[in-house]
């Protein structure tokens, strides 16, 4: 239903009648009655729906000038730039503009007192399809036509075949022509011609998905399935092919989900592994270092907004990497120098102290910035996704996190295994007293390692910005999972942390579809407890002397 429930009755009836008059006129290929069409768009949901459906079917034959015009009007309607005023509709250049052009006559008039209709879901779907059809038929660039085709592909069952044929015959771009032909072919599933139907079945199985499987399965109820062996054979082969592709796609999705969850766990836990392993400090403020990293990212974004040219804004996420690392490392080193230094070898005290620090940081940020979710302008490389195979979609934000985690892993290993600092850290981890005897300044190593561990958490903050909401309390979500990963992996080993993250992430993703997310957490936790009963030192234990 459209805005203003009181508007039913006589007005609606008149509009309804107007749209009924308009639709047959369109179907005959006559020029579009633009006035009646816009009036119908300003009507209630049923009238809107009929008018838009009418234009979609008429697009197959109507004059291209009319189709292009209808596309413009529908796009304005979708973006709420169409304002109804009196009996006519005005198109605005942007939502909230003071003046608009009359959709039918082009005259410029003020929009004050007008009403921008809200589309219901059914009407929205129709309007999207019809405006997609208009861009496919009349779009000036290949990109615009391709976008139109993508829109039609989503709702292929409601697209008239004639429309696709018209588009295919008019298309000049060879690549697009091929995709169009394939789509037109697959739209012929219910065609009367048996040969075209078989072609359609094969075409549908070319792009397998769960929806394609459902469309093909529906054909099993067709009488031809029982009587025509060729039809039966083709359909069965196509179904088997789609089913196989869908299960491969689902398998890939499970792998991808497991990997992406594991990379998040690893990012959150890597810093903790170093801090916990080296100093035995149970750092409850680790989650807040993640939060600091995320807030630093936000700071970088705001700096880019104010200082850099707008074209550079998309690069802020990359520019934030060093800033987040240094910000979190700086806070970590300050906390080590001011508080933790005095509490070494008193694990309970340091646990309480880091908890106090975490409360302080959360509430400090809450007072300074506020507790609402921060507003990020997500660059294209971390928003949306691309369907890769069957129903398997690769989402960019998760891929970013996976790549980020991989790079972090490599850098961490290089620093630990190939640099003097890493050597010192490993020496102190294995035997603190002996390392001190050999002249290693353990206090300095502690401080640097604490800073490094905090910095890694800050990096996690950058990777998590595109995935989770950023607010002062975000760190609390990660702390339990992080400890789970570190304890399971074995205190003080980065490789152990990695394997544990992969194991926990994978187990969660495998169990979740079977028993639900709540049970998955319980089962994983119970599994970890049982495992630690057998091997209290975790998966990979660093040999050390106390």
């Amino acid at each position: 239903m459209a805005e203003g429930p009181g508007r039913f009755g006589l007005v609606a009836l008149l509009l309804w009648a107007a749209s009924l008059v308009a639709s047959p006129a369109l179907a005959a290929g006559a020029p579009l009655d633009r006035g009646a069409f816009t009036t119908a768009l300003c009507g209630d949901g049923a009238v809107q729906g009929t008018a838009v459906e009418g234009i979609l079917h008429a697009s197959a034959e109507a004059e291209s000038g009319d189709v292009a015009w209808a596309g413009t009007v529908l796009r304005a309607l979708l973006e709420r730039r169409l304002t109804c005023l009196g009996g006519s509709a005005l198109l605005l250049d942007r939502a909230g503009a003071a003046d608009g052009r009359d959709a039918a006559t082009g005259a410029v008039r003020p929009v004050a007192g007008g009403r921008a209709p809200v589309l219901g879901l059914r009407q929205r779907a129709l309007a999207e399809t019809a405006s997609g059809a208009a861009s496919l038929l009349t779009g000036s660039g290949v990109a615009a036509r391709r976008a139109g085709l993508a829109t039609l592909e989503r709702r292929i069952t409601s697209v008239p075949e004639a429309l696709l044929l018209r588009a295919a015959s008019a298309e000049t771009d060879p690549g697009l022509k091929v995709s169009l032909a394939a789509l037109a072919q697959s739209a012929a599933l219910s065609s009367a011609d048996p040969a075209r139907r078989l072609g359609a079945i094969r075409a549908v199985s070319e792009s397998p998905s769960g929806a394609a499987f459902s469309r093909l399965s529906a054909l099993k109820a067709d009488p031809a399935y029982g009587s025509d062996p060729a039809f039966r054979g083709t359909l069965d082969a196509a179904l088997a092919r789609v089913a196989r592709a869908v299960s491969i796609g689902d398998g890939l999705a499970v792998l991808y989900n497991g990997l992406s969850f594991a990379s998040i766990l690893f990012m959150a836990a890597a810093g903790l592994a170093i801090i916990f392993g080296l100093m035995g400090v149970i750092n409850l403020a680790q989650g807040e270092f993640i939060m600091i990293g995320a807030y630093a990212t936000y700071g970088v974004q705001e700096a880019f907004r104010r200082l850099a040219p707008p074209a550079w804004l998309d690069a802020y996420l990359l520019a934030a990497i060093p800033v987040a690392f240094l910000a979190a490392a700086g806070v970590g080193i300050a906390i080590e120098a001011l508080i933790l230094r005095h509490l070494y070898r008193r694990p309970l005290m340091s646990l309480l102290a880091t908890w106090a620090v975490s409360l302080l940081l959360i509430n400090g940020v809450r007072v300074a910035v506020g507790s609402q979710n921060l507003q990020f302008a997500m660059p294209p490389y971390v928003s949306g996704g691309v369907p890769l195979y069957a129903d398997f979609v690769v989402t960019w934000n998760r891929l970013f996190a996976i790549a980020f985690a991989a790079v972090t892993l490599v850098l961490t290993l290089v620093i630990l295994k190939r640099t003097p600092l890493g050597l010192d850290i490993r020496a102190v981890t294995q035997n603190r007293d002996m390392a001190a005897c050999l002249g290693i300044r353990t206090r300095r190593v502690d401080r640097l390692a604490f800073g490094f561990g905090s910095g890694l958490a800050g990096l996690a903050g950058v990777a998590l910005c595109p995935i989770y909401s950023v607010n002062p309390g975000m760190g609390a979500t990660f702390i339990v999972d992080s400890f789970m990963v570190v304890v399971l992996g074995g205190v003080g080993t980065v490789v152990g942390t990695l394997v544990a993250a992969l194991g926990i992430g994978g187990a969660n993703v495998l169990i979740e579809p079977l028993y639900g997310a709540v049970a998955a957490k319980v089962i994983v936790l119970a599994g970890i407890i049982l495992f630690l009963q057998r091997r209290p030192e975790g998966l990979f234990a660093v040999r050390r002397r106390r």
């Binding site: 989900n257 992406s260 129903d391 979609v393 989402t395 936790l525």
Partner: protein, 408 residues
């Protein structure tokens, strides 16, 4: 989070230090109102706002001379999204602070934990959220709607020809009493409409859950199955809402493919999200910011001015239903107390029947004599590009509330 979590630990320690969390207000010619809204934990972003709204309403009443000649003092607290702590602090407020009424709770689990406390102490709790119904305590005023006047009209809309003709339903909820009860009632409702059991699926996630990849995969394969138009009935709460929406949009599902009916989704949950790929998803409340009413314009400007004047750490341009309902709660209490000429709970309660208040939604709130429910209007909102909701449908009047669902 499961088992011995830091939240549990925080909760225990916060309980020990709870007296310090309540800021007392001493004065003889004042009457105290208590707030039970978290400013930390998973509910912080949305519940935190309500403390300020109650203060704003109290300031407004004080500017007009207070109630029964007394100034209103607002006592706030932080129950830290920890359900037992709501009861603990509620008891302290009633017994030590002697508040005349409590305003609080977002999740039903927190209300359920405060319920025995207000009943034992014969207190009064104003609850500003729409909820699962099936409860009628003389000590609680249910200011927002039970399912019969919020969820069911929205589900009916989606199942009807005007909506999308929904035939199949994927329910995703946080694992606690509100989502489970709502879903139980919905299933019974669908059964009464002849929808077969195979047409729905039900999944729950822990509170504060954020990794929705697998669930969104499941929703996509559910949507691909034959059997008619699917919809998602979303009853996750708190920070899970934006995280779910982000994953849903990133996996390329649009509202025109599978619409989400977000029962706890408010304007504040869309802050920080790019809502262009989310346009068209629905919610249902007794108030939407886009409501066309003079009282709404006044309320919006009053809130914006309050945020600016007091440095409130929330957006000045975002107003959500529970904020308005919390505001209404204070007004209803003030009207009842003035009508009774007293702050004693039994007297105030006697004054409830017949109360009327024209609130920012544009509907007139009324209280009948038979229960403590308030009649409210119904809005169905549709997400727009500007992180808000457009009004898709609204009820012609405020339907009479039905506390106990005939379904489930």
């Amino acid at each position: 989070m499961v088992g011995f979590t830091r939240r549990g630990f925080l909760g225990t320690a916060a309980t020990l230090s709870a007296p310090a969390l309540i800021r007392p207000a001493w004065a003889a010619d004042t009457v105290k109102l208590g707030c039970l809204f978290s400013s930390s934990g998973t509910m912080a972003n949305i519940e935190g706002r309500l403390n300020y709204v109650v203060r704003m309403a109290a300031d407004g009443l004080n500017a007009k001379g207070g109630v029964n000649g007394r100034r209103i003092e607002v006592v706030t607290s932080d129950p830290a999204s920890d359900w037992p702590l709501y009861a603990q602090i509620g008891r302290q407020m009633l017994q030590q602070e002697k508040v005349a009424a409590l305003f609080g709770c977002w999740t039903s689990v927190s209300r359920k934990s405060v319920l025995p406390v207000v009943e034992q102490n014969d207190g009064l709790l104003f609850y500003p959220l729409h909820f699962e119904g099936d409860e009628n305590s003389k000590n609680v005023v249910y200011v927002n709607s039970p399912p019969a006047s919020s969820v069911l009209p929205a589900v009916d809309y989606l199942m009807g020809a005007e909506g999308v003709g929904a035939k199949r339903f994927f329910m995703v909820g946080s694992d606690y009493v509100w989502p489970r009860t709502i879903n139980k009632q919905l299933k019974a409702y669908w059964t009464s409409k002849g929808v077969p059991e195979t047409a729905w699926r039900e999944e729950y996630v822990p509170l504060g859950f954020s990794n929705f990849q697998t669930l969104v995969n499941q929703i996509r394969s559910f949507a691909a199955q034959p059997g008619g138009q699917p919809i998602v009935v979303l009853t996750v709460v708190g920070s899970s809402i934006p995280d779910f929406l982000r994953e849903f949009a990133n996996q390329g599902i649009r509202a025109t493919d599978v619409p989400i009916l977000g029962l706890d989704m408010v304007e504040a949950d869309l802050e920080g999200l790019d809502t262009a790929p989310l346009v068209g998803h629905l919610n249902c409340w007794a108030y939407l910011q886009a409501a066309k009413a003079e009282a709404n314009t006044t309320f919006l400007s009053e809130w914006a001015a309050y945020v600016k004047a007091k440095g409130v750490p929330f957006s000045a341009d975002t107003v959500i239903d529970p904020m308005v309902s919390a505001y209404d709660s204070v007004q209803l209490w003030a009207l009842a107390a003035a009508k009774a000429g007293s702050f004693d709970v039994p007297e105030v309660r006697k004054a409830f029947p017949g109360l009327r208040f024209a609130d920012p939604s544009g509907y007139t709130l009324t209280m009948g004599g038979e229960n403590n429910y308030v009649a409210r209007g119904v809005f169905i909102g549709s997400v727009n590009e500007k992180q808000g909701f457009d009004i898709l449908w609204q009820s012609p009047d405020a339907p009479k509330p039905v506390p106990f669902s005939p379904y489930g």
